[in-house]
């Protein structure tokens, strides 16, 4: 079994010597590693306004390219992440954020899963409680008595 798994993974790797790519390549220069990270995070978390459903780092050409250039410019000019995001929001609105901002309208979105979890917890609690107090599969006192009587009748009949 293990051998099979290893063969499969090596086999798949061998197939994998080439693949298409749709990412673009920018060659922006940064002064620090931190700036490079910020750029990466921002271009990953911002959405390309003209594409079907890709982030800025995954889109070729057009507005995406311009926006990446702007992000680079803003990082180098010392703007904070928040300021950069605000810049984008003022021009493209909520659409451009892949991380939806927490507002009255998105409260249900962000807290929904927590609510689901709580409901789930309640479901578990009620099922466990029911299973505990139920006598499914066992006979009640009265039923046990009835069974005894029936069996005694049976053996009386058989004699």
């Amino acid at each position: 079994m293990l051998r099979l798994a290893l063969i499969l993974v090596i086999g798949l790797s061998a197939l994998n010597t080439a693949g298409s790519a749709f990412a673009q390549v920018d060659t922006f220069e940064f002064e620090t590693e931190e700036q490079q990270q910020r750029f990466r995070r921002l271009s990953n978390e911002l959405r390309c306004p003209m594409c079907q459903n890709t982030n800025l780092s995954g889109s070729t050409g057009g507005v995406a390219e311009d926006l990446r250039r702007e992000i680079h410019r803003m990082i180098m000019s010392g703007m904070s992440d928040q300021e950069i995001e605000q810049f984008m929001f003022e021009r493209y609105g909520d659409f451009i954020f892949y991380r939806p901002r927490l507002r009255a309208e998105t409260v249900l979105l962000w807290f929904g899963p927590l609510i689901f979890l709580l409901v789930g917890g309640l479901v578990v609690f009620s099922i466990v409680k029911k299973a505990r107090t139920s006598s499914a599969g066992t006979l009640s006192e009265e039923e046990q008595q009835q069974l005894k009587e029936l069996l005694q009748e049976q053996s009386a009949d058989n004699q």
Binding site: V9, F95, L109, P113, G120, A136
Partner: protein, 664 residues
């Protein structure tokens, strides 16, 4: 002329599936043996005619018959043969035909491997599946006919298959995914049959399990293939984008995993019956939802097929009929179902229930995130985007909780497990896991990261819990190695699959935290380093392919001064569509991947390119492979085969219908 045979076969398949959807079910209700016995032959008929449809479409592609609209839209004379065939599922109409064919294949399998089941049950199951087939075929005939012609002026040549699809993963991923997706229709049919007959017991769960497990195996494989494909296709090292078309199969997978575990409890303990039936309906609903989203233009995505509200309305109507109808049936019949045993608050039943709840919560959360933009737009008229940052924030903690519960599940006992026992078994496991999670990354990277520690600890927790349980089972035997091999397939499969989860967690954690990338402009001869590796650019040369032209670069990769290998990324232009694409070059390894993606070439001969080092990324799919192997192993358990044989023998000697299983 030939495409018309396909058309004809499609209509015949429709007629047969309508008969299949009605006669056997009525026959089962009225105890009419003749009508019930029609189920198997009708199923075979549907399968045969859908096969004809598929073969005809394939033939049209292979012979470059551009008078068929679908072929004209997705093929080209220059397209390599293997892609001409797989182009069948390269667009909406063809892939839907393929989907329906998959259903008929599962139906055929059920028809063949159900000899030991009562006739009325089989009749109902095949009838329900026939109903689904009828609906799908009607959808094709009415809105998405793959055999539509472009007469009288057939184009000279086709529009070509999208370059992203001219790839081996495209040959593997859709069929595997569809097999899994469609496979959950079988358990769904079993559930409906149970609700219709009023019989829902441990036997029903036992019959359903292999089918649920096999569908799960295919779906796991399909998702893993999709992830692997996205990884090397998109070129920036991502392996899951939380795209609205990727999410529905994940939702189905989560529900399917819950279903698999719930069926186990129902079979062994006769509890959670109505919950299992509900899960079967929901998992199936998940697969229909996926079809709906991909084909109706509801949500924007990089891989949505078509934007057509008519199709969307049809599918939605069909969903309302099947899922809505099933849920009504469920609401009416489920209250009559009784538990066959009880259990304490700390027991394997409760751990599995917790697992179920977490999986369902995860599925509901992914669904929420997927549909929320549409709801938001309907209410506020504004657009909002929900992407990986949201989904990761929600999904990862839920999965972490799940993995914690996973450690407890297999080692706990049915009905009642003492906390003392659990403490005794798992305290050392927990301590060792956390210790390794803290120490190992610290020692290797000389840095502390909470995410990495949690991920590694969870993986070790799982592995050690598995080891502990397996050890318990073989510790007292004389020959431990033999005892290990003698463990039931069911059990081994489960632990293998769980082990796969641990492997995947390692892959996900390490790749997410330690991937490196760098974008540079290099002139020929220039080198750059990333991590332990050195990449030297040695210029490009022009290349020609069967349906493209381009440039191929040579990159020399060294590690710590020692030369390793050459990489050859390419930049291509596909002739027919004039669309460019980049072929990245990957050096894949067990412990890390390296790859290079070309950007743009300059007149000076310099090229921009991005270099990536992705540690442990293969472990993500290796984990999935273990899960697949584990799942297949459970379905091969001797119990099913022994019981199959025993039931068969009994039927043959007695020549009477089997005794009525206990009524609900």
């Amino acid at each position: 002329m030939v495409p018309e045979f396909g058309q004809f076969a499609l209509i015949l398949a429709f007629c047969l599936s309508v008969l299949l959807a009605t006669l056997p079910i009525v026959g089962a209700a009225r105890d009419n043996a003749l009508w019930m016995s029609l189920a198997r032959p009708l199923t075979a008929g549907v399968f045969v005619f859908l096969s004809v449809c598929l073969v005809v479409l394939g033939y049209a592609f292979v012979t470059d018959d551009f008078s068929v609209q679908f072929v004209a839209n997705h093929s080209n004379t220059l397209l390599p043969l293997q892609y001409k065939i797989t182009a069948i599922w390269g667009g909406h109409e063809g892939s839907f035909l393929f989907w329906t064919f998959m259903l008929s294949f599962w139906m055929l399998m059920v028809s063949i491997f159900s000899r030991s089941l009562p006739m009325d049950f089989v009749a109902r199951v095949l009838g329900v599946l026939g109903f689904l087939a009828a609906g799908y075929i009607l959808f094709m005939i009415a809105t998405s006919n793959p055999f539509d012609r472009v007469l009288p002026l057939a184009p000279r040549d086709g529009a070509d298959l999208n370059s992203a699809l001219q790839d081996i993963a495209f040959i593997l991923h859709p069929p595997t995914l569809y097999m899994g997706y469609v496979g959950f229709s079988v358990v769904f049919a079993f559930a409906i049959a149970a609700l219709l007959s009023g019989r829902l017991d441990a036997a029903w769960a036992r019959w359903s399990r292999p089918w649920a497990n096999m569908a799960w195996v295919w779906l796991t494989g399909g998702l893993a293939l999709g992830s692997w494909w996205a990884y090397y296709e998109l070129g920036w090292g991502g392996w899951w984008a939380w795209d609205p078309v990727e999410n529905p199969p994940l939702i189905t997978w989560l529900l399917g995993t819950a279903l698999m575990h719930s069926l186990a409890v129902t079979e062994k303990r006769g509890v959670f019956k109505s919950w299992t039936v509900l899960l079967a309906i929901l998992a199936f609903a998940g697969s229909l939802l996926g079809t709906f989203i991909t084909r109706s233009g509801l949500l924007t995505s990089v891989h949505a097929f078509a934007s057509d509200p008519t199709r969307g309305v049809f599918i939605l109507g069909f969903i309302a009929l099947t899922v809505g109808g099933s849920l009504v049936l469920y609401a009416l019949r489920a209250p009559l179902i009784r538990n066959e045993s009880s259990f304490s608050p700390i027991s394997r039943e409760v751990f599995l229930l917790t697992n179920n709840i977490l999986l369902v919560v995860a599925a509901a959360s992914v669904l929420l995130g997927t549909l929320f933009p549409m709801v938001y737009q309907a209410i506020t008229d504004n657009l909002i985007s929900i992407g990986p940052p949201y989904f990761n924030a929600i999904f990862v903690p839920l999965m972490a909780l799940l993995v914690v519960a996973l450690g407890f599940g297999p080692i706990s006992r049915w009905k009642k497990t003492s906390t003392a026992y659990l403490r005794e078994q798992l305290t050392m496991v927990a301590i060792a896991a956390v210790a390794l999670g803290v120490i190992l990354p610290l020692v290797i990277t000389l840095e502390f990261s909470l995410t990495v520690t949690i991920g590694v600890s969870l993986a070790f927790w799982l592995v050690f819990a598995i080891a502990r349980d397996v050890y318990n089972k073989v510790a007292n035997k004389a020959n431990r190695w033999q005892a290990l091999r003698g463990l039931p397939a069911n059990y081994l499969g489960m632990q293998l699959a769980h082990f796969g989860v641990a492997v995947m967690i390692v892959g996900v954690t390490l790749t997410s935290s330690f991937s490196m990338e760098k974008s540079v402009l290099l002139t020929p001869g220039q080198a750059i380093d990333l991590g332990d590796y050195d990449f030297q650019f040695n210029g490009t040369q022009p290349i020609t392919g069967p349906n493209y032209v381009g440039d191929e670069a040579t990159i020399l990769v060294s590690r710590r001064g020692e030369f390793m290998r050459e990489l050859h990324p390419e930049k291509r232009i596909y002739i027919a569509s004039n669309s460019p694409s980049t072929e990245m070059a990957i050096d894949s390894g067990f412990f890390r991947d390296l790859f290079v993606t070309l950007g743009e070439g300059r007149e000076s001969g310099a090229w921009s390119m991005t270099l990536y080092v992705k540690p442990f990324v293969r472990w993500i799919w290796l984990g999935a492979i273990f899960m697949v192997i584990g799942g297949i192993t459970t379905a091969l358990d001797k119990r099913y085969r022994k019981l199959l044989v025993r039931d068969q023998l009994r039927r043959e000697t007695e020549k009477v219908p089997p005794a009525e299983p206990q009524r609900v």
